[in-house]
């Protein structure tokens, strides 16, 4: 069950996206996320969807992977739908039996779902085509301007260690679950109280071993004279190429276009909240 996690997994390949500079990809991720949260209207969303499909084709990620990474979204979607059905009372009322449903509740939910799909797709493309180590280097580089305030290197080191430990801890979880199952723990069935107990029997050993591991790692790093405050050279160097610049400029143009579209579409006010917020900025 643990091996099914696809969200955030790097898929080794050699596509156009894999070869892009990780810094460029990180910036693209930011740009796309901003774009997704701007109310860009129907045309804008369709354009954005098309761009995303092109990105998927370029990165050669199988449709199956995408669908799998969207799986955790279902619960959230149902939750949002229920809330919307209760709260939203605008639009055309539809009568189904004794219940009245308003069209805007459905449309709002669909809109949020679409945005979430776009959001997860962007991050899937990013993480599937960028090695975790490259991500941290990119973060370190891009946030270098913060150096006088925070130690960016420590932050990026923490992120890379955390990423490095995800598969290890998943393995560990699997192992402990099996050991406890052999002692009669049922992780699937049982009453709430029994379930709470079975989760404790997993969480505590997991924490204990995670702490022990980090202690060992800290000692191993110190044994090799690691000093986070020292000036460090880098083994892996990133190379910014012309195609990175071109892609970045194209994306910025796209973002600018969408912002213009959003501002000119003021009248087409079909989702108030974020839009009003952005409009507030331009006043």
């Amino acid at each position: 069950m643990m091996s099914n996690v696809t969200l955030g997994k790097y898929i080794p390949n050699n596509t156009f996206f894999h070869r892009l500079d990780p810094r460029c990809k990180l910036l693209l991720l930011f740009i796309f996320m901003i774009t997704i949260f701007i109310n860009i209207g129907m045309i804008g969303y369709i354009t954005l969807g098309l761009v995303m499909i092109v990105c998927f084709i370029l990165s050669k990620i199988s449709l199956f992977t995408v669908i799998k990474s969207l799986k955790p979204m279902w619960f959230m979607m149902v939750f949002i739908l229920v809330i919307n059905l209760i709260v939203v009372k605008t639009g055309t009322p539809w009568h189904i039996g004794k219940i009245t449903i308003y069209s805007n509740a459905i449309f709002n939910t669909l809109k949020i779902a679409y945005r979430l799909v776009l959001l997860i797709s962007t991050s899937t493309i990013f993480t599937a085509t960028t090695k975790p180590l490259d991500i941290t280097i990119a973060i370190e580089d891009l946030f270098a301007f913060l150096k006088p305030i925070v130690n960016v290197h420590i932050l990026s080191m923490m992120i890379s260690i955390a990423l490095r430990f995800i598969p290890t801890i998943l393995d560990e979880t699997n192992r402990i679950m099996k050991a406890q199952a052999s002692r009669g723990v049922d992780f699937v069935h049982g009453k709430l109280k029994e379930k709470a107990k079975s989760i404790t029997s997993l969480i505590i050993p997991l924490f204990v071993s995670a702490f022990a591991r980090s202690d060992e790692l800290a000692n191993a790093m110190e044994a090799r004279s690691y000093n986070p405050y020292a000036k460090r050279s880098r083994y892996r160097k990133l190379k910014w190429r012309i195609k990175d610049s071109i892609i970045l400029i194209l994306s910025i143009i796209l973002l600018a276009g969408f912002i213009t579209l959003a501002v000119t579409h003021l009248a087409n006010n079909w989702n108030g909240f974020i839009f009003d917020w952005i409009r507030g900025w331009f006043k």
Binding site: S3, A179, G184, T200, S201, P205
Partner: protein
């Protein structure tokens, strides 16, 4: 409890297009009150095999028969808990499964899960703790303040507590000092001799195989290469070099000695003591 393994193959679920069997077409049967050693190099499928024996993993093809239980794909196992009560597994590094606030509670965790009543639980922790060679002062200690060897013994006590008929132990002596390792091996041998339990021991220690086991299963790349007695295995040089194992030192010495004393019965040489005994007979 006779265990029958019929054409068992196991493949770990993965997204990779190229899959390799962790186990392929294993056929074997283990009789009640037998002491079986499972040997093989790292990655040969030893741990996968034992997990197939109590329903932690379900064979991809083939089946495992244990009394009325049939572990097979697409056939739902009824009462899997009772099966796991009968077949106890002590995993590698079992000390990582401890989680309760004191040793007594941790030992009784398994029995409680398997539905032992108050009467059965009374004095149980003390009894099994004595079996593994720890006194009752340990009962109220936190499992996290014990030494590595003590933790291991407490974890083993936690499995013994629910009195499984078959005890499967995965490298119980890994990382322990020779003295503690010896004590733990003696403990399993006593369970086999005095309480007539079936012991399945996964090990890399050929000395232990020679000394304790009645039968030995040799795995290589997921295939069962041999299922024979330790004596036959260690006399088959072709098989040994194929499996890349070494003859136990004491047997080597005995073989050299046999050149001078041809009456020496090698089949009775199990360890230093039995070797000396045999030697006394022939000199």
């Amino acid at each position: 409890m006779n265990i029958k393994i019929n054409h068992l193959s196991y493949t770990y679920p993965s997204n990779q297009p190229f899959k390799e069997d962790a186990l392929s077409d294993i056929n074997a049967s283990i009789k009640s009150n037998d002491f079986v050693a499972i040997i093989g190099q790292t990655g040969s499928g030893k741990s996968t095999l034992i997990q197939n024996l109590n329903g932690l993993l379900i064979p991809t093809t083939g089946q495992v028969e244990i009394e009325d239980y049939i572990i097979k794909k697409k056939v739902k196992l009824k009462n899997i808990k009772q099966l796991r009560k009968k077949i106890g597994i002590v995993f590698q590094f079992p000390e990582y499964q401890l989680f309760e606030e004191n040793v007594e509670k941790d030992i009784l965790f398994g029995p409680k899960n398997f539905g032992f009543n108050e009467k059965q639980l009374a004095g149980l922790a003390k009894k099994v703790l004595e079996e593994v060679g720890l006194d009752e002062t340990f009962l109220k200690k936190s499992p996290f303040e014990l030494s590595g060897g003590e933790k291991r013994r407490v974890a083993i006590a936690g499995i013994l507590a629910f009195d499984p008929e078959v005890l499967i132990v995965d490298e119980p002596t890994a990382g322990l000092d020779p003295q503690t390792a010896n004590k733990i091996m003696e403990l399993f041998y006593n369970l086999y001799k005095k309480q007539h339990k079936t012991i399945i021991l996964v090990t890399h220690q050929m000395e232990d195989v020679l000394k304790y086991a009645n039968h030995v299963m040799a795995l290589k790349n997921g295939k069962l290469e041999a299922y024979t007695t330790p004596f036959r295995l260690f006399n088959d040089e072709k098989l040994m070099s194929h499996l890349q194992i070494e003859m136990p030192l004491i047997l080597k010495i005995a073989k050299e000695t046999k050149k001078k004393y041809p009456d020496l019965d090698l089949s009775k040489v199990k360890d230093i003591d039995s070797f000396v005994m045999q030697l006394k007979d022939v000199i």
